[in-house]
Amino acid sequence: MQILMFGWEFPPDISGGLGTACFEITRALSRHEHHITFVVPRSGSTQRQTHVHLVDASQASVPYPQTVQEFFEALNLQPVDSILRPYLNDAEYQTILNGVLQTQLAHPGTPSLITPTGHYGATLMAEVARYSEIAEDLALAQEFDLIHAHDWMTFLAAIRAKRATGKPLVVHVHAVESDRSGGAVNRSIFEIEKLGMEAADHVIAVSHYTRNLILEQYGIDPGKVSVVHNAVSQRQVGKAYHVPRRHTKKTVLFLGRITAQKGPDYFIEAAARVLEKAPDVVFVMAGSGDMLPRMIERVGELRLGRNFHFTGFLNGHDVERMYAMSDLYVMPSVSEPFGLSPLEAMVYDVPVILSKQAGVNEILPNAMTVDFWDVDDIANKILAVLKYPALTREMLRNSRKALQSIRWEVAAERIQQIYNKLLS
């Protein structure tokens, strides 16, 4: 079957779980003889993947690709020049836009991988609308049986593709606006999400947690909303076990976007409590986001600087190293539709403490969970994991067992069933 997929960034340019999920789902689907045309926003300035070739759809039929490169070669990748990227809000969009403009002012003669100035939308919404127009043109030039779109920024494009071709539409919801905004819901984004889900013939939610939000907040017909949990790559599982820890001091990790949704502030308050009892523990906050400056200030106020490190944004190899160096991973998310990174931490044999508000708990029956706001309990559990080694042993035993059945192939299988139902 031929699928037109509106997706997001591919490795190594991964800013969060959305890109990983798109990549892994596409990879696992391509095993089932699906021809995927993958439409992805990519601005000239971020175009670094020289090994990616645009190939004709007719050449895309190859056996299940083993390497990333083979995978890319099997894929009909259709980059659309756009500075959209996952998790954007309007303020961040403006920052990026200004950056692009300034680069071009500074290097007026730069030969153009970098696109001509000025044509990106003036606001995030304008850019989303512009993207959807280009994506529609692109879609009309392709052959496909079904449209699959990931998260709200692609929904307008997908709706236009559906209107133009009459093909069935699957929208894949990795997060909804209330997850990201923590209450201050942007109505325009909400409306686009609602539009997309209403127009869709089927909606895929990454967890029951997200499915409930979709039913409650958007009033979508429950009959067309299915849950397909994310997974973690088994290649990593095999490779990553027993990475030796080089640190003598115990290291506790926060890794994710430093935004209100992820609860970095609770992590810092818990760290302060832990350090009262265990002054040798090291805390690491990896990632970037709009709350980063405030978090750095807070660590200063609390005089935790000696034990608290900010790494900034990490990708690929550095993420792996960071996991390998950690003794405990904490995810105190205020709202977490799924939460891929704890699964990755588990792959690296790092025990994880998870917010109760995380969809990933649905597939981890023996997860250690906390209320994100209960800083004392988070600190209590961090101390317990560091102080009672049997706890780490038990948590790792349980996570290894759970990981055995958490596979992208299973997710792809479920998605394929949904495709088949829509096309039958």
Partner: protein, 372 residues
Amino acid sequence: MPAFCLSFHIHQPCCLKHYSFFDIGETSAYEDQAGTEEHLNSAIEKRILPALQIFLKRITHYQGDFRIALTLSGSFLDFCEHPQPRVLDLLKALADTGCVEFLGSPYHHSLSSVGSIQEFKEQVVLQANRLAALFGQEPTAFANTGLIYSDALAREIESMGYQAILAGNAGLFSENLSPSHVYRPASCATVKLLLNRPLDPTGVTRVQPRGKVIGLYCTLDSNSETSFDDTDILAFLDQLPGSILSEHKGTFLTPSQVAREFKASSILSSPDFHSLHPPHDLSSWLGNEMQKDALQALYQAEGAVKIARDPALLRIWRLLQDADYFLSMNTRKQSVAAVPSHGSPYDAYINFMNILTDLTERIEATTPTPPG
């Protein structure tokens, strides 16, 4: 016409307070007395008291033809003494009928038989003394926590003068041995082994009244996994004596009576620990790393707590031996524990270890540092 041997187990664990890492060294209030009383009172009203009343009624009605055995934890008796004297009065009335046998057990419903034989023996003596003082009976039959059993334990129990030991029938004994006979534990001279199946209201009609003696074991705890809806089990207990006496033409014997009346049909060997709880080993209590670690840490404190000679510390240390705390750390199956837990098995373990850490520090603080 087989003999039926019915044993009922009653225990209520002490509820522990939420005890954080930050409480260590700050407060030593571990017991949630209000919570304990609430659960205890609820269990007593809904199940324990009505069941005991039914026993008394049926024993009186059948004039000695209906007999039962009771295994009561010392902790339960302690709790009853103060808030619920009605229960003690009823137990004494049952003792006075001469148709109720009180079984020996470790005082604190503990896993001491696995953790420390020395402590196990002390608790068994404590329990025997308590039963003698309350009911005028020295126990001669023994029912360990969860009917935990092994050859080595059988020898210890025999050496303490017991004539009968209760064990579970499932999982351990090979198929060519009938569960309805009396056995001799390997390398024991006198003590006899009585095999029990869980008493199941829905399955009692399927019990084939064959063989010599049919052992049935039932826990009357509030939330235990072998228990059933309160009204169902009470109705069932009410009808059981009549049904067995008239329909099955059976008789009732207590464990010590069985041991006296029946010869051991053959020798049974169980080198490994066996228990009533599926999968009939120790894994319900000691199946994962947390449970094993907690048990080890607990019994490592034994020497110091006994040297300290502080009755309050010893009491808490013994309280913490309650097998139900270990059940609440079970990750295989949630909510089997009779003790209201603080959330997940991890929470249960963390709470337990925080308390134990504080207790251990207090014990160490009482030990004078050697001079020099």
